[in-house]
Amino acid sequence: FLFDLLRVVMSGRRVLVAVKRAIDYKVQIRVNKDCTGVEDAKMSMNPFDEIAVEEGVKMKENKQADEVVVVSIGPKKCSETIRTALAMGADRGIHVEIDQNLFPLDVAKVLQKVVEKESPQLCLLGKQAIDNDCNQTGQMLAGLMNWPQGTFASKLDFDGEKTVQVTREVDGGLETVELTLPSVITCDLRLNKPRYTALPQIMKAKKKPIDTITPEDLGVSISPRLKVVSVNPPPKREGGGKVADVDELISKLESHGLA
């Protein structure tokens, strides 16, 4: 209790970044034989979460944050993903270990407990995980915490002490909102360009602490409300058709009534 209290008192501006270990974005996935999921492939930090980590580290470098804490929820190997974030410049990690695949609601509930424990002034998440493409967790966490949410952020402005201006990429273009702190931000593609981690940073990261806990330690009982009935490949698209020149292209378009 005393350590937690001390941590809150000393928190300055703490940023909590949530990261997910997901199939690498370059992988061409294949549905598995029993149609329950996809075949194993190379795993990496979800690209949007890399952007979130980068933003947290940049904030620290710009003296807008004092500490960047990274959290990941999943099996043992998530610790590798946390190490990558530590190598990028985060200060310490929290690994909530669980083998089961979680839906966003349960992820958000676990994160809620971590937030209550760590008292960050800002939560940074990736906009969506490129495996389930849900785009829900950040919004759910904000709802559970009754915090404002700045989703699909392409720019953050911390001019004020107590607020942040968020430029969001929306269907019609760009929208700017001002949020009170603490708040939840979900990071979009153009927020920043994540740094590569060089060997010295990777070596330094090995010494940074990672706290391993379980959902039970946080008082969260996982209760999935959804069941995946099956996973199937999409209808196959036949492609590879070629035309020799513009004239042939136009005649093909005309035959479809498109030109």
Partner: protein, 379 residues
């Protein structure tokens, strides 16, 4: 914020409706109460579906996401349905409400969540509380909205308030509790069953339901009413959390990207903004919208709202012209359901050719002018 952006304060709560408190017609309230009492006894819910749609000022009617939402509700979800119109302007809200009231299966259309100027009426923090309160009052079995940035921003927050797991970006309704949604950039389809309690929250992909025509009602239209004062008040506390500051929207005479019959899309190989503008003439000749790959947007060739892909817009037009686009997994996710795909690229190994019906290998800087010259002039 750039051109056309304005700062508006969202802090005043304007009174809804002229009479303040009287929001429901007596007969409607009585029939709903009666229905709910009997359904509570039988343990079933009385209202079918709550549809949440967005009406933007100057949009000239319901947008394609809203139409897809209503089409899904009409064709696949339990009736009757109540539609809630959220808007950034009172006029747009009322106009949309009128349009929805003439549809088959609608019982009531609610509007006037917020009379605030600017898009403060669309912010998720207060709106999610209003929706949650409305769900508590109406007890629908399903809540549906579009899977556009409005719905993506709003629905998960509503779900969290209701302690529910939503099913987002649905492309197919199997039955009232089972839905199909794309995962891994659309390279797999996941069939998901809701096994929770309480209302089922879902969002629908525009391209999956947008082409289903909306059925109009026989006889008199549905009741149009203002959202109840209690529900509006539920959002009041959350108004302190956020404020709409401004926006930068592209104005265009061309069709909307997510509803266009033809899309002319440019990628990295165009190299510059000036070159990208070469595609505008082509788009106009084909009567199409402009689209772009992530690389083109990143390079500043065009604005972000043109981006087609896994995390941008998903389109399924009659014709998709991919010009100077290599065809990365993430881009294909946004256009591989197009009816006819044409690809123009210098690299014969470009992955885009694997999905193209008509691929033309060559220099786009020669091909595009030739195409523009030989095509019949502006549609």
């Amino acid at each position: 914020a750039g051109a056309g952006a304005e700062r508006r304060s969202g802090k005043e709560l304007t009174k809804v409706g002229s009479s303040g408190g009287e929001m429901w017609s007596r007969t409607l309230l009585k029939s709903l109460r009666g229905a709910r009492q009997s359904s509570q006894q039988s343990g079933e819910r009385s209202l079918g579906t709550l549809c949440i749609v967005e009406a933007k000022d100057g949009a000239g009617g319901l947008d394609s996401a809203s139409k897809a939402t209503l089409a899904c509700a009409q064709k696949h979800l339990p009736k009757p349905f109540v539609a809630l119109v959220a808007s950034d302007a009172k006029g747009a809200s009322e106009a949309a409400a009128g349009e929805i009231a003439s549809l088959a299966g609608v019982e009531t259309v609610l509007h006037g969540v917020s009379d605030k100027e600017g898009a403060n009426g669309l912010l998720a923090e207060p709106l999610s509380q209003v929706v949650a309160a409305l769900v508590g009052k109406l007890e629908p079995t399903h809540v549906v909205t579009g899977s556009n940035t409005f719905g993506k921003n709003l629905l998960p927050r509503v779900a969290a308030l209701l302690d529910s797991a939503p099913i987002t970006d649905v492309v197919q309704v199997v039955d009232e509790s089972t839905f199909v949604r794309p995962i891994y950039a659309g390279n797999a389809l996941s069939t998901v069953k809701f096994v929770g309690k309480g209302p089922l929250l879902l969002s629908v992909r525009t391209t999956a339901f947008g082409s289903e025509a909306l059925e109009t009602a026989q006889g008199a239209g549905a009741e149009v009413a203002s959202v109840g004062a209690e529900e509006v008040a539920a959002g009041a506390a959350a108004e302190a959390l956020s404020e709409w500051v401004g926006e930068e929207k592209s104005e265009s005479e061309r069709p909307q990207l997510d509803a266009a019959r033809v899309v002319v899309s440019g990628g990295r190989a165009l190299k510059s903004k000036e070159n990208f503008e070469m595609l505008e003439k082509l788009a106009d000749q084909l009567g199409g919208a402009l689209g772009a790959s992530r690389a083109a947007v990143d390079a500043g060739m065009c604005s972000n709202d043109l981006q087609v892909g896994q995390t941008g817009k998903v389109v399924a037009p009659e014709l998709y012209l991919a010009i100077g686009i290599s065809g990365a997994i993430q881009h294909l996710a946004g256009m591989k359901d197009s009816k006819t795909i044409v690809a123009i690229n210098k690299d014969p190994e470009a992955p885009i050719f694997k999905v193209a019906d008509y691929g033309l290998v060559g220099d786009l800087f020669k091909i595009i002018p030739e195409l523009a010259e030989k095509l019949p002039s502006q549609k």
